[in-house]
């Protein structure tokens, strides 16, 4: 066998393998959070294999890059992040260390949910005296089901770019997700009509409140990233005395300040995650929103 025919043989074998790989293997999707994982699972269905990096009871902003994350990113075809610098403390480092050029920002293998929708809280001064601010906007877009529908559409398009053969599937699944949200929207709207409002620990559920016109009565953190001060809690108490509402905080936030304010105001303080469970799919995401809607609609 000549070298030439050998080379052609090897090339053909490689091409076959590559082709086989692209048809047979599911897309490896790495989602930073369970909500992004849920979206990827419902859009990608069995054409994707989804790995979620952060669990719902951990603060996405404070997470640290771990070797196992880097391992997962090494073989990823697509990274689905919430974005807008929410994961800045670990994701860029993890992606950089993963030596996988396909998922670098700017590549088709990198997807940021926050980049697909309008953001709230845009244009805060980039001044750390205001705490850990995000001048590009509030990143917690996963708390708004309507925005998640837009994100789902964009994700379907992104998946279709990576896997054109599945384009119809992705599109259909995105529409299915949109439909599921559309079915629940009126129910949520009805439940939340006239809801008295909520005090949050951090401005992390504002997208949900904004969507359903539920008043944000205040945040326990006066400055993002800095624990609530007694003075500020007292000020909130004076301001909200006599009103009704609910206090909601995440599992990784301190319970003392929410409980103190709840005691003083006679409200309930509940702990809710910003994310659905670790292995959530699309309907689990809707159930997650259900839990928030229920909490917001039934204050004392």
């Amino acid at each position: 066998m000549t070298i030439r025919s050998f080379s052609i043989g090897v090339l053909a074998a490689l091409l076959t393998l590559t082709a086989w790989g692209s048809f047979a293997a599911p897309l490896e999707v790495v989602a930073t959070s369970p909500s992004m994982g849920a979206l990827a699972r419902s859009i990608g269905a069995d054409r994707t294999r989804v790995t979620v990096l952060a669990s719902p009871d951990r603060d996405l902003h404070m997470l640290q890059a771990k070797p196992t994350m880097i391992r997962a990113l090494r073989d990823a075809d697509l990274v689905v992040a919430i974005g807008a610098e929410l994961e800045i403390g670990w994701l860029p480092m993890a992606i950089g260390s993963a030596a996988n050029p396909r998922v670098l920002p700017g590549q088709p293998g990198y997807f940021e949910a926050a980049a697909q929708v309008d953001l709230l809280d845009v244009g805060a001064p980039a001044d750390r005296a205001q705490g850990d601010v995000h001048p590009v906007g509030n990143p917690h877009v996963n708390m708004d089901p309507e925005r998640m529908v837009q994100i789902a559409q964009a994700l379907a398009a992104q998946l279709a770019r990576l896997d054109p053969a599945g384009a119809d599937t992705y599109q259909a699944n995105a529409e299915h997700f949109a439909l599921a949200v559309a079915q629940r929207m009126p129910i949520w709207q009805e439940q939340l009509a006239g809801a008295p409002g909520a005090v949050l620990y951090h401005r992390d559920a504002v997208y949900l409140l904004d969507r359903f016109n539920v008043p944000l009565l205040g945040t326990l953190e006066e400055i993002p990233g800095v624990p609530p001060t007694a003075r500020h809690v007292k000020a909130l108490q004076d301001q909200l005395q006599g009103r009704s509402g609910i206090i909601i905080y995440a599992p990784y936030q301190s319970v003392q300040a929410p409980n103190r304010l709840a005691r003083e105001l006679g409200w309930e303080a509940v702990s809710l995650t910003l994310e659905p469970p670790m292995n959530a799919a699309g309907s689990d995401y809707l159930d997650h929103i259900d839990r928030w809607v229920l909490a917001l609609s039934q204050p004392q």
Binding site: K66, I70, R74, G106, D118, R161, P227
Partner: protein, 546 residues
């Protein structure tokens, strides 16, 4: 046309294609004439816009088609994009989604740096006090090891650069400004990232800590790094002082690698293979200019002591492997094995002989090198003290084993997080005596072995508060073997600290250490050392490696 009116007109005209798509030829012509009219007034601005236009058009081809959300998008964005992309070359109609391109072309939202690298500045200073008049700060970096001798003409100056003056961790009693570290990082182009770290010490001296490029786009899990950088040898080696969990470096690193750790100019290749568990393999080649590990002397001393010239680089080679098993989500464990070899290491050992007029054989070594007898030939006997210098040359090896465990406790502001890390280092210098005032010693072998380990745990005992405990020891083995055998004791230390992390960007620390440092054979200093430290981080929000 008065200016304000013109502006309104042009703004309205320019927004037309966005508001009502598709644009007609007529509209475009109209816009063109308007632009031409304004061109004299806005010549400079238009030139600028033209260049942005071509960029925007390139981006337009890449950017995915985006839908009606654009309409609701801020008017400013629409206007900018319209001005940028439409009228001047505008035979094609561009989707309104282009209005979003400045924001989404990367598919990512960032605060943006407009082509400037990300800049961070770390300020690190302290109040220090020890019970031996401030000597302890430098003494901890000079714990006794037989291959490293400090004297007036100690070998501890690498050739070509002087590390004697600068030091991250040699405080004196009172206030110390350790360093201001300036970090610039960014993406060079699609193929490279680059980073620059400068350290400015308390006297204003500037030192280049790291300056390197790293590949972005290599396939198969490969990455290449080149320039001056901290080696991936071990675990703590790569960390800058502001990342440490204690105010000072541990004894093994400080004494076996020096203030800067294994920092040199060279090339690194790492490979992350497709294995079920995280495994990182890497090799590095460095020039070999080290403070302690694999140092060479300057040309004058090399000639005087017959040590031979400094050979061509690279002289320092490392290899490392890091493995991290898959543990439950909140746990992370990494095990590392590292090896470094420097093909050339030179030392000069000095000892003094005190002469009496009537007894040439009574001498006093200022360190532990007994070189037998028969000395002083040819020395001027009118001097009472004679310094003998022995030149040694050979190679140096360093082994490192590390283990790091992290638990993410999930509490507020780092509450209940746990970090445990431990490393063992073993330095073996295999040297031959090349010159000596004691001719019988020449040619004989000396193997210097010194090891050390540290173990530390840091726990978030309250939101924003951590406490740390560290034990470090140098010289569990601390010996000379070969042509001469001798063994020495060890130095150790217990350190306790409490750190208040006010935010992600500022940190205050109090640290106490009980030191038991072997200064020279048979001579120990036991002392307390106390730090109050601040670390401030200015600028962009950095991420740290595991």
């Amino acid at each position: 046309m008065p200016r304000p009116l013109a502006r309104i007109a042009i703004a309205t005209a320019l927004m037309t294609p966005v508001a009502a798509l598709p644009s007609t030829e007529h509209e475009i012509r109209e816009l063109r004439s308007l632009i031409d009219e304004m061109k004299t007034q806005y010549e400079r601005r238009i030139q600028e816009l033209e260049s942005r236009l071509s960029k925007a058009e390139q981006e337009a081809h890449q950017s995915a088609q985006r839908s009606e959300a654009a309409a609701a998008r801020a008017e400013t964005a629409a206007r900018t994009a319209a001005i940028e992309s439409r009228p001047m070359t505008a035979p094609t109609v561009v989707e309104p989604s282009e209005a979003q391109s400045p924001k989404t072309v990367l598919g990512a939202l960032t605060s943006g740096t407009a082509f400037n690298p990300q800049i961070s500045v770390f300020l690190d200073g302290n109040y220090y006090h020890d019970t031996i008049g401030g000597e302890g700060g430098s003494l901890v970096g000079r714990a006794f090891q037989p291959s490293r001798v400090f004297g007036d003409h100690g070998h501890d100056h690498g050739h070509g650069h002087d590390h004697g003056g600068h030091s991250h961790g040699a405080p004196v009693n009172g206030f110390n400004f350790t360093e201001a570290e300036i970090a610039l990082t960014g993406t060079v182009d699609p193929y490279f990232d680059a980073a620059l770290f400068l350290a400015v010490d308390g006297d204003g001296g500037v030192e280049l800590e790291e300056a390197y490029f790293q590949t972005r786009a290599l396939p198969a899990g490969l990455r290449v790094k080149g320039g001056k950088f901290l080696s991936d040898f071990g675990y703590i080696n790569k960390q800058h002082p502001h990342q440490w969990d204690f105010a000072d470096q541990n004894l093994p690193y400080l004494n076996l690698l020096g203030d800067h750790g294994l920092l040199d100019t060279g090339l690194q290749i790492t490979w992350l293979p497709k294995l079920p568990v995280y495994t990182l393999l890497g090799v590095e080649a460095f020039q070999g200019n080290q403070e302690i590990f694999g140092t060479t002397l300057d040309g004058g001393e090399q000639t005087e002591l017959g040590l031979g010239r400094t050979t061509d680089g690279p002289r320092l080679w490392t290899a490392f492997a890091k493995v991290s098993p898959n543990l439950p989500t909140h746990h992370a464990l990494q095990f590392g094995l590292s090896y470094a070899h420097n093909t050339q290491h030179q030392e000069v050992h000095e000892h003094t002989h005190q002469h009496r007029h009537d007894d040439h054989h009574d001498h006093d070594h200022d360190h532990g090198h007994g070189h037998g007898h028969g000395h002083g030939h040819g020395h001027d006997h009118s001097h009472r003290v004679v310094v003998h210098r022995n030149g040694l040359a050979g190679d140096a090896s360093l082994w490192g084993v590390d283990l790091v465990y992290k638990y993410d406790g999930g509490g507020a502001y780092g509450h209940r997080n746990l970090l445990f890390q431990t490393e063992y280092l073993r330095s073996i210098k295999d040297l031959t005596v090349r010159s000596s005032a004691h001719p019988e010693a020449i040619g004989s072998n000396r193997t210097f072995t010194t090891d050390g380990l540290y173990a530390q745990a840091v726990y978030g005992f309250a939101p924003r508060w951590t406490t740390g405990l560290r034990y470090d020891v140098l010289g569990l083995t601390n010996k000379i073997s070969g042509g001469r055998n001798d063994s020495f004791g060890s130095s150790d230390r217990w350190t306790f600290d409490v750190t208040w992390n006010l935010t992600e960007f500022s940190r205050l620390r109090a640290q106490y250490a009980y030191n038991n440092i072997l200064e020279s054979p048979g001579e120990r200093e036991r002392f307390d050392a106390f730090y109050l430290q601040f670390v401030m981080a200015l600028g962009s929000h950095g991420a740290h490696a595991f």
